[in-house]
Subunit: 271 residues, 4 copies
């Protein structure tokens, strides 16, 4: 058995409240939990819609090693040209060949290589992309042939059936598969028989009293009336939703998995 690498994954970061809470809490959390590697999904960090180059830089500076995304990846236009310049910022791997950016990255750490892959589902989510099952499997194989044992996958998808099936599909081939996109943490974290840790959705990092991070009244009004409205980012306490996975660096198998869920009362920026 090799060393144990502890990976901390944070679900969709929503707006300023989400990111400020992370900047404030992450340093202490790293120590408390003895974390080796941090990954976060940043697809909603720019006011709920996408990510900018500056915010991507901020996340990396805050100690997040890899930033994943999802269906909101291109919401901020300037990110398109930024993608090729930052290999630690990922877009789903199953975009068509030739799409800017990359869907995976391998980083060197003190405990060896870590591969991160980002993929997107095709049920109840837009736009239609190439098959995530075959694309991810192919990339996993490529990484493993390159000697990468520790592999973490963020599967950004809506339907529970697709997400659970995807985890089983990769069981024994990757260290962990964390679902994102629904912004609601599920209570089904587990290690599958082949040694892959899974959770259907890691949850979000954003306003706790909200609808997916948005102000409650605006979303309720929309559902009740159907009329167009804006959905401002909600205020108040912030919840951080994520997953902590211990991986055996020699086998790449998950040794332990636990959900992370914390409510941060004052989400003011650290000074």
């Amino acid at each position: 058995m090799g060393e144990v690498m502890r990976i901390f994954f944070l679900g969709d970061i929503v707006g300023e409240p989400g990111r400020e809470a992370i900047y404030k809490r992450l340093p202490s959390l790293r120590k408390e939990e003895d974390i080796d590697f941090v990954i976060a999904n940043g697809e909603n960090i720019a006011g709920g819609r996408g990510i900018t180059p500056k915010l991507s830089i901020d996340l990396l500076r805050a100690g997040i090693a890899v930033v994943t995304t999802g269906d909101h990846v291109w919401d901020q236009k300037e990110i398109v040209d930024y993608f090729p310049t930052e290999p630690r910022l990922l877009r789903p791997i199953n975009w068509p060949e030739g799409t800017t950016g990359s869907g995976s990255v391998v980083l060197e750490t003190a405990k060896g290589k870590v591969g991160v892959i980002n993929a997107q589902g095709r049920v109840f989510i837009q736009p239609p992309l190439e098959d995530p099952f075959t694309r991810t499997e192919r990339e996993v194989q490529r990484l493993r042939e390159d000697g990468v044992k520790v592999i973490f996958v963020d599967f950004h998808a809506e339907a529970t059936s697709e997400k659970i099936a995807f985890g089983h599909h990769l069981d024994g081939k990757v260290s962990a598969v964390a679902g994102t996109h629904t912004h609601v943490q599920t209570a089904d974290e587990r290690i599958l028989p082949g040694g892959t840790a899974v959770i259907t959705d890691a949850g979000m990092c954003g306003p706790h009293y909200s609808v997916l991070g948005r102000a409650v009244d605006s979303v309720v009004w929309r559902f009740r009336t159907g009329m167009p409205t804006r959905f401002p980012i909600a205020k108040g306490p912030v919840e951080l939703g994520g997953l902590i996975v211990d991986v055996d660096t020699e086998t790449g198998q998950a040794l332990a998995v636990k959900r992370f869920r914390e409510i941060i009362d004052e989400a003011t920026p650290a000074t």
Copy 2:
């Protein structure tokens, strides 16, 4: 303050494994948890597809007071004519006027009246029904005018946004709103400011090692190939997913909420 009524809600029961586990475990659980009233969603109890008159009777005999359903309600043809004969079996309330069966029921208990309402969402779920927000609100108002304080709502829906907004919409008007349909329990149970307990999804009662209760290999194969196949109910240990809510019978407000999640190793029928 009135008495405390403890309500136990069980998410979608899947096939024989799900129902046998309930028949076996429910009696002891009632005592351990001191439960007053049990509600269960039975939309997948007949081999995963709908519910039959016989299975509806079995559930009621097993001590479940009200059986809710969802998009699979009519899967078994003989249930259509059975509906008008059994008021404790509900279909979503937002079916068009004139549809057979009912979407709500009020039962007398030792601790007073309990109202149960079943509604269905409209995002990523078929068929299109009438607006659940207004229909449910109207029914809640009717029940409250009849003096019903304790009201439990099963909102069968897919999208987290619709489900969370729905809970907020009813906050302060009902005792609890439990989501169903995704078959994956969420970790976000809470009591909203107005006193309504909510959870985005209560989870399912069905095979633990499965995709929504179905055999893993068949579903993974379907996603990988797209080819038609059958999805047998999975075997092995069964998980029971649900919610326990303590309600103040005088105000109708939730006093406490906790998720229920248990893995039952041997789901063999009780003898």
Copy 3:
């Protein structure tokens, strides 16, 4: 038998090219075709997205008696407050009770009353609205009880199954049902056994060399790459798509139906 009323219906008007072509061509067309009453769908008249108060006024001044809409009805925010002031501007009738505006109107003409109803489908179209089948039927009944015989329905919907079923549903109860929304005229105009003229889609009034009125290159690029882009209104010749229906004013039945489809080479404003 009563008089014959000739109704001319124009499908979704797209942007400036569409409306300018109508302003230019409609006067001569009225004479050539001896038209009594003109209805047009204006949901895309404001640069492809919705309709403004000014453009609504322009259409009515140009001799269009009633303007229908569809899923794009609220795209221009200022139209919301304008709706209650203009009964000849319709939004789909199956929006929830309490929604601003109206889904039907009855106008007096030299040949008697004409009722126009606008409804929206629920398959492959957003947002989810109330059941169009029952809502429209109820409104038709109300109009008929008020002595309105000539009734024209614009059913704004995507799926051919829903559109054709809707026409049959109203057969014998209204004079005509014209589908809109796909922007492509169908070749299936006919009079059903009960005397109702139908067409699955009347087509659009907009740039002929385009994708639904939008510049070809932008839409093709979007489908090829999936990347976000803007979809400018296309240039060049304009096609006018519509339906001409002759109605017996005494019975309300359609006597004749023909598609209207014309390519206008120079869509410059009339001077």
Copy 4:
């Protein structure tokens, strides 16, 4: 300039009425219209659901050179194993690599090679397949490198935007693109600037008084009530919907295009 090849394409054949009408009418039509090559979409030929080996053989024997399909391709289980044995029976080309059967075929004729490609859209149609734009383009390139000039594409898709964009995408690269799947013929046949004939939907070959070939009452009842029911194939006169394209065999460009639409009163089998 080369010879002129006249290709006759028939839209989705629905059930026994559709196929019997074709068997009866095709021989005379071939002579009247001087047709060189016949293609038909057979995805609904087996009672509305898929195609069997026997029905595939019947179509080929009736003089149809190539049979295309669509989302209903696998509805009849026995067709799966039959596919590899019959290269003239196509399934959409954008199924994942490794899927049984083929999405294109090249046949020798008296006037040279004819290539036929079948693809499926991804908007409002299931299941999610690989990108049809790139897959079809790649196959077209392969055929052209093999010297095939005359290429006909059946694009089985729902959304008019995707279908029209697809035609433009292939303009100048293939002889014709005919849409299928909606079962309603569109009135927009044309030749694009690059020489490709297109129509958004060729229509169906099935019962004329019906909803997509199904009995009117059953479908209307379904939309009105939402309740499950069976959708029998309708009776009565049959409509044949298709497209006739004249192609220059040297350039592969379309020289002329016309819609074909005919109502056959007695669709009884030829004796």
